[in-house]
Symmetry: C2
Subunit: 407 residues, 2 copies
């Protein structure tokens, strides 16, 4: 595709403000953070703003590729080194997300050359251990209290927790890998990778279903997420500007779980059984009580046999805010597939990511209930876990976490 054809596409789609620079230039077509990138805008040229009230990568439509990783500070590094690292990381993230090319003579792997940022986002968070390691224990948010043990957990400590958390998302796999290596280089001498996981979602343009995605069980996933247009959306997902601690204003708490799916078992079940496990139709995500994907499920409705059409242990009944004192979270997962296990089963499932203003009013009560056994849990294994404080988005000139580290 020549540059001219690229411009042609974008203008045919009525996209405004596209400006493709040469070396050193920027891919400057900026899309609203909430709008899903589609084949109508050029996949490569879409940028997500680095600055804002919230960090990017929370409300951004889930990208086709994601890396999730945790770093631990090296023993010699303290608060000062951590602050310098966050400053370097923020500057690198800002530039890569804007599609700025490396300047002449700058060290760069070159992996992202030729490509636009492709909706690249980089999101930074702090784990509980970060606060002790940097002498900031007095600033540890109460919300970072360790998650309770769940009876069905089989957690690998080496792939759980960590001082610093990074989420990278992009619609291009090489752009995502370039960002991963660039951030790792900036960390050298200050922090080391503790664990790293990769995931994926549908490519923009592969489907005509924009907002919700499918997971590896074949289900439409994300339907009943809180929506930005809901009245109380911000209150569920983000720490308010008057919230505590004040450096978390505009921030959110993310729970990450590596949840392996027992796909060989799952795929043997009939469509009917599978749909009862969730409480929704597989084809289009409509609730079993009727309607289409976005029809409110009717949890009271009974079939001719007198039994509830959405069974008592159906996943959407057990997790619904109505049955959990209003507990809600924004789920923005990636699927993962790390080959096959020694037992011949696929090592695949969901990198579950739940965003909320307070885990005790989001993930924790709902997972407590799931842990007592919903129908879906029989097909799942929770293998790794993390909880991180993700501060608000940086203002111009600020770095992520500056209000914590210098406030």
């Amino acid at each position: 595709m020549s540059r001219r054809r690229l411009l042609g596409t974008a203008s045919a789609a009525g996209a405004a403000g596209l400006a493709l620079g040469g070396a050193g230039g920027a891919w400057a077509h900026s899309a609203a953070q909430e709008e899903p990138p589609t084949a109508l805008t050029t996949l490569g040229s879409t940028t997500v703003p680095f600055h804002g009230t919230h960090q990017a990568g929370i409300l951004t439509p889930a990208q086709a590729h994601g890396h999730l990783l945790a770093f631990d500070l090296v023993p010699e590094a303290g608060r000062k080194q951590a602050a310098a690292l966050l400053r370097r990381w923020s500057e690198a993230a800002r530039r890569m997300m804007a599609g700025e090319r490396p300047s002449a003579g700058e060290r760069d792997t070159g992996i992202a050359l030729d490509a636009g940022p492709s909706s690249l986002t980089v999101t930074f968070g702090f784990g509980r251990t970060f606060f002790t390691r940097t002498g900031l224990k007095d600033r540890l948010p109460a919300q970072l209290a360790p998650l309770p043990d769940f009876s069905a957990d089989a957690l690998d400590k080496k792939r759980s927790d960590g001082d610093l958390w990074v989420q990278i998302g992009s619609d291009d796999a090489l752009v995502a890998f370039h960002a991963l290596r660039a951030l790792q280089r900036e960390a050298a001498g200050t922090a080391r990778v503790r664990w790293q996981m990769s995931g994926f979602n549908r490519s923009p343009g592969a489907t005509d279903r924009p907002r919700t995605v499918r997971n590896l069980m074949g289900q439409v996933d994300g339907t009943n997420n809180p929506k930005p247009e809901d009245e109380d959306f911000a209150g569920k997902v983000f720490v308010p500007s008057s919230g505590e601690p004040s450096w978390m204003a505009g921030g959110s708490y993310v729970v990450q779980r590596r949840i392996r799916m027992l796909l060989d078992d799952w795929d043997k079940r009939s469509l009917d059984e599978q749909e009862k496990v969730i409480g929704r139709r597989k084809s289009d995500g409509a609730p079993l009580s009727g309607g289409h994907e976005h029809t409110e499920p009717d949890l009271e409705k009974r079939g001719t046999d007198g039994a509830p059409v959405i069974p008592g242990d159906a996943h959407i009944r057990v997790t619904a805010p109505e049955t959990n004192g209003g507990a809600a979270m924004l789920r923005r997962p990636f699927s993962f597939h790390d080959g096959f296990r020694d037992d011949g089963a696929p090592d695949a499932g969901l990198l579950f990511l739940a965003w909320q203003a307070d885990p005790l009013r989001g993930f924790v009560p709902v997972q407590r209930k799931l842990d007592r056994g919903d129908a879906l849990s029989r097909f799942l294994r929770h293998e790794a876990s993390g909880l991180f404080a993700v501060p608000g988005g940086p203002r111009k000139g600020e770095y992520v976490g500056q209000r914590l580290l210098e406030g």
Copy 2:
């Protein structure tokens, strides 16, 4: 993106023959096999023909996602069961590649629902051991003689070789995973996954560079591949219609190598050093002797210091057909990244795939020379290897390998 907008995009791009069916319908926009899919056609709706002289997935532009896997026949399975499996696999591949939806009541994971085939290709091959296991030893092609041992090899036998080889490519990760699971289901009782690897390339639309891709060393990769428009192209890559054995007419031999890159070492080298290792500029792939990406390298040219500007051990000098008695192959790789190793280094590199009419006039002589040490080899580790006979494409009504199994 609504279905209407999807149609709008495709017609704006002048694509003909787009027909989006509902459940049971097909995504019928067919693109020529050699044309790279771009943002101009809709990523999801592009189909690659299953039938033809050659199997799909060889001349098809490399897709964003790939799975490579080998199956071994179970002890109870012989030629008859293998033939039945190839028939089932071919029918499944044909239907998925055409974008046909599963029919009502059909077992399907549902993972690809909503999505078009997104340039899905499935390619089947036979390993040396297949012929002994199925009593077809008299049909074993001479070209499947085991690859010689190379001194730098550190091969994992468990991730090498195998009776049957499958390559899956798609521009959508879920479509690719769906195909993987569908083929695995068809194999149940007849063959078991021996090894499986996943890889990636740039997403269509992420860049304005259509034909060549970048690898994880940041290099433009694929430049000097034989091109379909070259006079002797077919003779290098495919077995001629008069070739031996006759069931391989239109087929090709593929060498697969899992080549890990020592990226931490590599990324420490200066740009100048890196460019001398290959003999090409990193920014645009132009040879160090001057010009642009597709300028013929001048291996004789010397600098003011009298030294050749493309060094004696530069990768493109050591591998060039001119220095290897004309030995040539079509390289169509995927990059891979399987997290980090225990030593902290990324487990990443190239799933090298070389296609040729005869490995003894393609991969083998070139790798023999590389093995004596080109500049690039110092940054590489060959960790797994396979050689497979990939028969010609099926005619309508035929299954892949039918000429071998029933001929």
